[in-house]
C-alpha cells in the first residue's frame, strides 16, 4: 500500500470543492423548507441532525404538500436506507473505533462515499482523507447555506411567485437522474411514477410516495437476478 501525500492532498481538495458545490444547494433547501412551513430552527435542526439531503428534501416535500408528520418521517427514513449501505462500505475502509463510529456514521452520505471511492483503490490514506474532508466540508457549508437559505426564504414571502415549487420538483429530478443509468432503474422509475400518479387522488398527501416505495421494493426484490457465477444455493444460504 502506498502512503501518498499527493493523493491525500488531492482527495482533500476534491472534498472541499464538493462541499462548496453542495453548500450552494443548501441555500435552496433552506428556502424551500421555510416555504414548506417549517421555521428557521426546524430547518437548521434537519440539516444538523438528519444531514442527508435527499431525506431532508423529501421530509419538507411531504410536509409542504400537507402530508402527516409520520408519512414525512417514513419517506425520509426510507430514502436514508442507502446510507446504511454506504456505511457498510465505509466501515471496512475507515475502521473507526469507539466514539469515532457515530462521527463517521453522521458524515456518511452520497458525497463523502463517492469522493472516498473515487480515490485509487490502493491508496487507503487518500480514500480516508477523501471521506473525512468531504464529510466535514459538506457538513460545514450545507449547514451555513441552510441557515442563509432559511432566512432568505423567510423574507421572500409567497414561494410560488418565486417558482420555489418548481425548484423542488427540479431538485428531485436532479437527485433521481444519475440513478437512472441502468434499464432496471428506469423501469422502476416508471412503475413508481405511475403508482404515485394513480394514488395521489385516492389517499392523503404523503402516502402515494410510500405506496410507490412499497411497490418498488416488491418489484425490485423479484427483479433481481443473481450474477451467473454465483450458484443459487450459495445465494440463498442463511447469513
Amino acid at each position: 500500500m502506498s502512503r501518498s501525500a499527493p493523493g491525500v492532498r488531492s482527495a482533500v481538495r476534491q472534498g472541499v470543492s464538493v462541499g462548496l458545490a453542495t453548500g450552494a444547494y443548501g441555500i435552496s433547501f433552506g428556502a424551500l423548507s421555510v416555504a414548506a412551513g417549517l421555521d428557521v430552527w426546524q430547518t437548521c435542526v434537519l440539516s444538523l441532525l438528519m444531514f442527508t439531503g435527499g431525506s431532508q428534501f423529501a421530509f419538507i416535500g411531504v410536509i409542504g404538500a400537507g402530508g402527516a408528520g409520520a408519512a414525512a418521517t417514513a419517506t425520509a427514513a426510507l430514502l436514508g436506507v442507502r446510507n446504511s449501505l454506504y456505511g457498510l462500505q465505509m466501515a471496512s475502509l475507515l475502521r473507526p473505533r469507539g466514539r469515532w463510529k457515530p462521527a463517521a456514521a453522521h458524515l456518511t452520505i452520497d458525497e463523502s462515499t463517492a469522493v472516498a471511492l473515487a480515490q485509487p483503490a490502493d491508496d487507503l490514506p487518500a480514500r480516508r482523507a477523501g471521506f473525512w474532508a468531504t464529510g466535514l466540508a459538506v457538513f460545514g457549508f450545507w449547514n451555513l447555506a441552510t441557515l442563509g437559505g432559511a432566512l432568505l426564504g423567510d423574507v421572500l414571502g409567497d414561494p410560488a411567485r418565486w417558482g420555489l415549487d418548481g425548484a423542488a420538483a427540479a431538485a428531485f429530478l436532479a437527485l433521481l437522474w444519475p440513478r437512472l443509468a441502468r434499464r432496471q432503474a428506469q423501469a422502476i422509475g416508471v412503475v413508481a411514477a405511475l403508482v404515485a400518479a394513480i394514488t395521489i387522488p385516492l389517499v392523503p398527501a404523503g402516502i402515494p410516495v410510500l405506496a410507490a416505495a412499497a411497490v418498488t421494493a416488491v418489484v425490485a426484490w423479484f427483479q433481481y437476478r443473481e450474477p451467473p457465477h454465483v450458484r443459487a444455493d450459495e445465494q440463498e444460504a442463511p447469513a
Binding site: 458545490a21 408528520g69 425520509a76 410560488a160 429530478l173 433521481l176
Partner: protein, 103 residues
C-alpha cells in the same frame, strides 16, 4: 408542537439508519439482493417525489407552471448541467411562466 417532534424523530431515525451500516453484522446488509432492492427503492421514492412535486395539489392532479419547470430541468440535466443550475432553472422557469399569467 408536533412538527418539532416529527423533525426530531425523522432526524434521529436517519442518523440511526446511518449508524446501522457501522454496527449491523455485514452479512445482513451485504446480500446483493438486499442492496439491489435498497438502490431501487431510492429510485422509486425519488421518481414518486418528482410526480407528486410536479402534479399534486392537495389530493388533485393538476398541470401548472411546475410542468414547465420540470421540462426545463430535464433539458438541463440532458445537457449535463450541475445540480444547482438545474434547481435554479426550475425556479426561474416556473416564476417566469407565472409572471406571464399562467399556472
Amino acid at each position: 408542537m408536533s412538527l418539532w417532534l416529527w423533525v426530531l424523530v425523522a432526524a434521529l431515525a436517519c442518523l440511526a439508519i446511518k449508524l446501522a451500516g457501522y454496527l449491523v453484522p455485514t452479512e445482513v446488509l451485504d446480500n446483493p439482493r438486499v442492496s439491489h432492492t435498497a438502490a431501487m427503492v431510492t429510485c422509486g421514492l425519488l421518481a414518486a417525489l418528482v410526480v407528486s412535486q410536479t402534479f399534486a395539489s392537495g389530493s388533485a392532479l393538476v398541470v401548472d407552471a411546475r410542468l414547465v419547470a420540470i421540462a426545463v430541468a430535464a433539458l438541463a440535466l440532458l445537457l449535463r448541467a450541475p445540480f444547482i443550475v438545474v434547481v435554479v432553472l426550475g425556479a426561474v422557469s416556473a416564476a417566469l411562466v407565472r409572471a406571464l399569467g399562467w399556472g
